[in-house]
């Protein structure tokens, strides 16, 4: 198997077999406590390799529930979630807040590794929150809050970062720039992006897991995205094709 130099870091060689970074959900069934309705019935899906992947679906189909299961924050389901070459899973969502006793710059600095200052500066500039680094979290706009929260997660040690609506309330241009920055700065990491913006997902994501209603079988469908590395360099026809596939799958 011929590998590019950059890919070697996310493959490992054990007993002559190449193990690829992968997260696999197998035969997952789950219903919320004290309810009769199943959220998942024999759900199976997988995401393979590093890069920017997506979990897409209508509201209420269980995207957050599945994300929390993958992150190990939710138990009590049947089936298996297996990961390979993924030791650290983090789950960031858009309802999170910083403690209010210090500015967001100080709070970020207090929770990152000593070697992370260059990365912090790079992310702060790319995410466009430099002017508010001394402000308290409560003084930020919703979009700034989400960007600040995402930055502090990116400064942590992780193999898979689940971003649950982490770029909500951020304008489209900035969102695109942020996603491309993530793909450039963290090529060996795996991202699972949850968003309702179909065009954004079709444009920037590599593998798209489309979640369907529990009455449909299979409950997930896998679509290949355009996985663009630049914002405007795309063929409209291909993008439309991907979006159509997502619509048909959901």
């Amino acid at each position: 198997m011929k590998l590019k130099k950059r890919q070697i870091c996310w493959f490992s060689n054990i007993d002559g077999y190449l193990i690829v970074m992968q997260i696999e959900c197998h035969d997952i069934s789950y219903q919320y406590p004290q309810t009769d309705a199943h959220v998942f019935e024999h759900l199976s899906c997988q995401v393979t390799g590093p890069g920017f992947h997506a979990l897409f679906g209508q509201s209420g189909l269980g995207k957050t529930t599945l994300a929390r299961m993958i992150a190990g924050e939710l138990t009590g389901y049947s089936g298996q979630i297996q990961s390979r070459q993924i030791a650290e899973v983090l789950y960031a969502h858009n309802m999170e807040r910083f403690p209010g006793w210090a500015g967001i710059g100080d709070m970020m600095a207090s929770t990152m590794q000593a070697s992370g200052h260059d990365m912090l500066n790079e992310l702060v500039n790319a995410f466009g929150i430099q002017p508010v680094m001394n402000a308290r979290f409560s003084q930020l706009s919703l979009g700034q809050k989400n960007r600040a929260n995402l930055i502090r997660y990116l400064l942590q040690k992780f193999d898979l970062l689940i971003m649950d609506e982490s770029l909500a309330n951020v304008d489209e241009t900035t969102r695109g720039r942020i996603i491309i920055t993530l793909k450039t700065l963290f090529p060996e990491k795996c991202f699972l992006y949850i968003s309702h913006n179909m065009m954004e997902i079709a444009k920037f994501c590599n593998q798209i897991v489309v979640l369907r209603s529990p009455c449909k079988h299979p409950q997930t469908s896998m679509i290949s995205g355009q996985n663009l590395m630049t914002e405007n360099n795309f063929v409209m026809k291909d993008l439309e094709q991907t979006m159509l596939e997502i619509v048909h799958a959901s």
Partner: protein
């Protein structure tokens, strides 16, 4: 703040006094039962200075008792915030003791420790400690998921950070609870003095009761009200300063 609180107290106090005098004149009660306004005023003038010192004596015990209760409540509350067996044990014990009237236990404390300062302090602490503890446990055991999630996920959470987050997020509740428990501390001290102590305004009220001197009791109540208002206003001021600092 002080101005408003004192005004409110004056209004309530003089309405009460007026009602008492109204009852006296409507039912034609003798001065022995309810003294007239002139007698009340003269008694007030004669005992005022002594009663001011008695109120100050009571207040400082109440303040020290209150501070001890706050420290104890936070120390035990930090332990009791967990859902572990120790947390459950602390909560169950606090609920059981809270349900028991401390006043009923007070005579035992007087028998064992005498009628000195320690006894008054202990009763004041016991009366305001348990309600304070239950409130502190309730506040500190409530997770602030939106903030704590990051620290739990990244394994950076420790007990100090957890307590800091929860206390900071509930600073308004905590300051209200602390200010509210101050009244309990004052009440506790006066009860202790009333039962068996040999000093303080509670002791003066007991003496006045034995003399059936309502004028002295009314003067004592007036000064207790003023003293408590001053203490509560001081606490509210400190609470507001803390809240303002937290919101910067």
């Amino acid at each position: 703040m002080l101005h408003r609180r004192i005004q409110q107290f004056f209004l309530v106090y003089f309405l009460g006094l007026l009602s008492l005098l109204l009852v006296k004149y409507l039912l034609n009660l003798s001065d022995y039962v309810i003294p007239g306004p002139v007698e009340i005023w003269q008694t007030c003038k004669s005992v005022f200075a002594r009663y001011v010192f008695n109120v100050l004596d009571t207040l400082w015990i109440a303040v020290v008792g209150h501070i001890i209760s706050i420290i104890l409540a936070f120390m035990v509350g930090i332990l009791g915030r967990h859902n572990s067996w120790i947390g459950s044990l602390i909560k169950a014990t606090a609920y059981s003791i809270q349900a028991y009237p401390i006043v009923a236990v007070a005579p035992i404390i007087f028998i064992l420790l005498g009628d000195g300062l320690i006894t008054r302090l202990l009763i004041a602490v016991m009366i305001c400690y348990f309600p304070l503890l239950l409130s502190v446990i309730g506040i500190l055991s409530e997770p602030v998921d939106s903030i704590e999630h990051f620290y739990v996920s990244t394994k950076r959470m420790n007990w100090r950070l957890q307590v800091r987050i929860r206390a900071y997020e509930n600073i308004n509740k905590l300051t209200t609870v602390i200010a509210g428990s101050a009244t309990m501390a004052v009440v506790g001290t006066i009860i202790a003095e009333f039962i068996a102590a040999d000093a303080g305004i509670g002791y003066s009220i007991r003496t006045a009761l034995y003399q059936s001197d309502l004028s002295k009791i009314l003067t004592a109540l007036f000064l207790i009200g003023i003293g408590t208002s001053l203490y509560l206003t001081g606490l509210e001021w400190v609470g507001n300063v803390i809240q303002r600092k937290c919101q910067i």
